[in-house]
């Protein structure tokens, strides 16, 4: 049943070794930010005066509007679809369960590009509208331009809602059916159960999901740039690239980071006293209600809408473009190398990220309190900083380390090691860990929080060590959360661009870097096959994710 209790404080607290582990992970994650602080401290004369006078008023407002819009859309679409497939049984429900994850497979910059084409005055949609209305030329009639804030909000919202859907659905699934039954016995209507029981209980999951979606939004540079939205992230880019002022860009990035940290801290503080857990011994799965066929079809179509908008339409567009490209130029021989590189990098990074995330989350559970909570926050900060910024931080730290190793080896053994970390690809993996530790730690922490603390106490009093308890109690019970975290991180690593682009070794291309190379000179069509490959790689985990959810 629901328990609301303060963090457990038994007389004998588990070893400080876990706190040390959490500390090391936090250090790994925060080092690149240290690199940035170093860079930022070099100063940038006159930057802030200019920013305050001309850039920030617009950029701040645009960013806030964008975040608010994306937050509302992802929250509404993510929770309603999660409830839809959990509470009702209708034809196609099982298919819908995994289809709703599909937009995850499509990087935001590809969606923006695809919709720019689909909705362009000479694209298929407006052609059809003009044909229906009897207009001949786009000069006589055209729809509003997708290159706008509203367009950007809708596109990002419809692609990012799975970040809310996944944890929320997992939460709904593992909520005790008893609770719902109890509520129903007390005369609560099905709809009221959602508002009064399920949603309040799922609130932590919804919050985690929204915050992930918002971080992705803050990180986005491609879509915002295509659609002409001036976010703070775009300003960081402008300062760095156009004005060649890396120190200034680092300063803006750090300021942005502070804002994000403050928001997260406020959110945490607001629910500091809440702890939701369920009594797993008496857990009974949630029974969806069968509905009439007519209503079932309506529900299915309603659930399908975000899938069509966030996945099917852009994917179909890519498929057509890729087919055209294939007929025109065949398949590049490099595609196999790119596939191998993409998969190897993503697999290594995912494994490392999930292990570190698990350790960090578990340490927080064992040693709840100010210190571990702050260590966890530090570990997950990399997600709040734009990808390029993290990449620059990693570059500063590892580049320096590489030179140090090289010089030491040269003076000690007379052999040059070259660039050990940068040249081997270790730098890319490191950057990906820093970027995505938040996803794994966050999801796993949410998963662990659903396991009642009394189980820990029981296991410990039966003589298990903390590691044993993790192995025999927590791992099996949070398998779904861990797998979900792994798949999210994997898909993100496949899509990730800035860090991979900046830090990879010579002659190594991935699907994403190939795609970006073409996109950078505006020849997207040449990269449509790579783009489609990214989407295909993303689909498989999406399907697996839903299976795991069902087995729980």
């Amino acid at each position: 049943m629901i328990t609301s209790q303060a963090p457990a404080r038994s007389a004998k607290r588990p070893g400080g070794v876990w706190l040390t582990i959490a500390g090391i992970i936090a250090l790994i994650a925060i080092l690149p930010i240290g690199g940035l602080i170093l860079e930022a401290s070099k100063g940038s004369a006159g930057l802030w005066g200019h920013l305050f006078a001309t850039v920030l008023p617009v950029a701040l407002l645009d960013t806030v509007i964008l975040l608010a819009g994306v937050g509302v859309i992802t929250a509404v679409v993510g929770t309603t679809t999660a409830w839809l497939v959990t509470a009702y049984d209708f034809p196609g429900r099982h298919a819908l369960e995994w289809m709703l994850l599909l937009p995850l497979a499509v990087p935001t910059y590809i969606v923006a590009y695809a919709y720019l084409d689909i909705l362009h005055p000479i694209g298929p949609v407006q052609d059809a509208v003009r044909w229906l209305l009897g207009y001949e030329s786009p000069r006589q009639f055209r729809l509003p331009d997708v290159r706008s804030k509203a367009g950007c909000i809708l596109l990002l919202g419809i692609v990012l809602y799975p970040y809310v859907y996944i944890p929320t659905r997992a939460m709904f699934l593992t909520q005790s059916g008893n609770l719902v039954d109890a509520a129903r016995t007390l005369g609560t209507s099905r709809r009221a159960v959602f508002w009064r029981v399920a949603l309040p209980l799922a609130r932590p999951a919804v919050a985690v999901g929204i915050s992930l979606a918002l971080m992705e939004t803050l990180n986005d540079i491609g879509a915002a740039e295509f659609l002409g939205v001036r976010t703070i992230t775009v300003s960081i880019y402008t300062t760095w690239i156009t004005r060649s002022d890396l120190s200034g860009a680092s300063q803006i990035a750090l300021a942005l980071l502070l804002i994000v940290v403050a928001i997260v801290a406020v959110e945490r503080w607001a629910r500091r006293k809440q702890r939701y857990s369920i009594d797993v011994r008496r857990m009974r799965s949630f029974q969806p209600r069968r509905v009439s066929l007519g209503k079932g079809i309506m529900l299915f179509l309603g659930g399908l809408l975000p899938v069509i908008l966030g996945f099917a339409a852009p994917a179909l567009y890519l498929l057509i473009e890729a087919a055209k490209r294939y007929r025109f130029a065949g398949i590049s021989s490099r595609i196999i190398d790119e596939a191998v590189n993409t998969l190897v990098i993503a697999t290594l990074a995912t494994t490392a990220t999930v292990i570190l995330g698990l350790l960090a989350a578990y340490a927080t559970r064992l040693r709840p309190g100010q210190r571990s909570s702050w260590l966890l926050r530090c570990s997950t900060m990399g997600y709040a900083a734009p990808g390029t910024v993290v990449a620059i931080g990693v570059l500063i730290v590892l580049g320096g380390l590489d030179q140090l190793i090289d010089r030491a080896a040269l003076s000690l053994f007379g052999v040059s090691t070259g660039l050990l970390l940068m040249g081997s690809g270790a730098a890319v993996i490191y950057a990906l860990i820093v970027r995505f530790l938040a996803i794994s730690a966050g999801s796993i922490e949410a998963g662990l929080s659903r396991i009642s603390l009394s189980l820990d106490h029981a296991s410990r009093s039966l003589g298990q060590s903390t590691a044993g308890t993790l192995r025999y109690v927590h791992l099996p019970l949070s398998k779904a959360a861990i797998s979900a975290a792994a798949l999210l991180v994997f898909v993100d690593c496949v899509k990730e661009l800035p860090a991979t682009l900046l830090l990879r070794p010579l002659n190594i291309e991935t699907f994403a870097t190939h795609l970006y190379g073409e996109a950078a000179r505006g020849t997207y069509e040449e990269a449509s096959i790579a783009a489609l490959a990214i989407v295909l790689i993303g689909i498989l985990p999406a399907m697996l994710l839903s299976r795991i959810g069902r087995i729980r």
Binding site: A53, T54, V55, L116, H120, P138, R139, R142, D145, R147, S148, F226, L227, G228, R230, T238, I241, T242, R243, S244, K324, F328, V344, L348, T388, I392, L395, I396, D402, Q403, D406, S416, T417, G418, L419, L420, L421, G423, S424, G425, A426, I429, Y430, P498, L501, L502, L503, R504, P505, L506, N507, I508, T513, G517, E518, A520, R521, T523, E525, E526
Partner: protein, 331 residues
């Protein structure tokens, strides 16, 4: 984990008779050139395509860096490399005689390899035959101009050239005028200007010359032929100058382990053969006098390059970027 990664990927230590090329230029554009070079010399060229952060990466790699050649797309980026101290001067009679003085660093730190012009795309039926950049601010174009983000290096270079001609104050007035004439947000890429002219969103646009070659040649697919043919191209000039051009170019890295081979590659890139490949593969203007541009590009008429030296234009970049913010060009 990291060790496993190291084992799986190639080590970063370069062997002999190899050149390591760091480029912000898309690999597909230079692949034919590098292939031709490797074939004739037997020297392997390893490449890494970086978009942003070339200078930062080479700087952080320091003396251990395997980089031999640093290739970049915009004159400003080349100057950044010099400012970061990651290049070294080269004294090569071959390079110096092939490339006009205006298109290389006075101290030999960087060299232009190809050129593109910032041109006017106009609707096929528009009644224009000549055009000055100054006219972009003319109210008669209200709601009719398409252009990409004012913060894009292609545009800041043009605006910096305007500053070089008229000073910051005049440029601000001009930019305000251009902003008022925009048909849509300053966003997207250069080819969107052609596509949007076809789609009836705008009448004229400012974009790069080589995209026209890519579109009209059909290399990007049949739709792009339609975009390319919906426009006519006019080489605009400043009233008291010529057409604004930007370059792609290269520098030798400060700690280049294979400098001699690297200089040979640069010299090859300005040979008649390589310059011809540049012109044909990417529709850029050759930097070497006497090498012909692709017929599509040549059809725009004779290119009269603006007289302001690239180094001077580059020095106004930051100011240009700040003016873009000040007039809210992208808002």
């Amino acid at each position: 984990m990291l060790l496993a990664a190291s084992a799986l990927m190639s080590p970063g230590i370069a062997a002999a008779a190899e050149i390591n090329l760091y480029t912000t230029r898309e690999p597909a554009l230079i692949a034919p050139l590098l292939g031709a070079f490797s074939k004739s010399t037997g020297t392997k060229v390893n490449t890494i395509f970086l978009k942003d952060g070339l200078a930062e990466r080479v700087a952080s790699e320091g003396a251990s860096s395997p980089a031999d050649i640093l290739m970049a797309v915009d004159a400003g980026n080349l100057v950044d490399l010099v400012d970061k101290g990651v290049t070294q001067p080269v004294e090569s009679p071959v390079l110096n005689s092939a490339i006009a003085e205006q298109l290389r660093d006075a101290k030999g730190n960087w060299f232009a390899l190809s050129m593109r012009a910032r041109v006017l795309y106009a609707a096929k039926d528009a009644d224009i035959s000549t055009f000055n950049y100054e006219e972009l601010a003319d109210p008669k174009w209200k709601g009719k101009i398409c252009i990409r983000s004012g913060q894009h290096p292609y545009n800041t270079a043009l605006f910096a050239d305007y500053i070089a001609h008229y000073g910051a104050e005049e440029t601000e007035k001009w930019l305000t005028g251009v902003k008022a004439n925009l048909a849509r947000k300053a966003a997207g890429g250069d080819r969107d200007a052609a596509k949007d002219i076809l789609g009836g969103i705008c009448d004229i646009g400012i974009a790069n010359s080589y995209y026209v070659g890519l579109m009209r040649s059909g290399k990007g697919g049949e739709e792009q032929v339609k975009w390319g043919e919906a426009i006519k191209v006019i080489l605009p000039t400043f009233k008291n100058g010529g057409t604004q051009v930007n370059i792609s170019g290269a520098a030798i890295a400060k700690h280049s382990p294979n400098k001699a081979e690297a200089v040979k590659l640069l010299e090859y890139l300005v040979s008649d053969e390589a310059q011809k490949i540049y012109a044909e593969a990417n529709y850029e203007y050759p930097v070497k006098a006497g090498v012909a541009a692709d017929p599509i590009i040549a059809s725009f008429g004779e290119l009269k390059i603006d007289s302001k030296p690239l180094s001077e234009i580059v020095s106004h970049r930051k100011q240009a970027s700040e003016l873009v913010d000040k007039v809210g060009f992208d808002n």
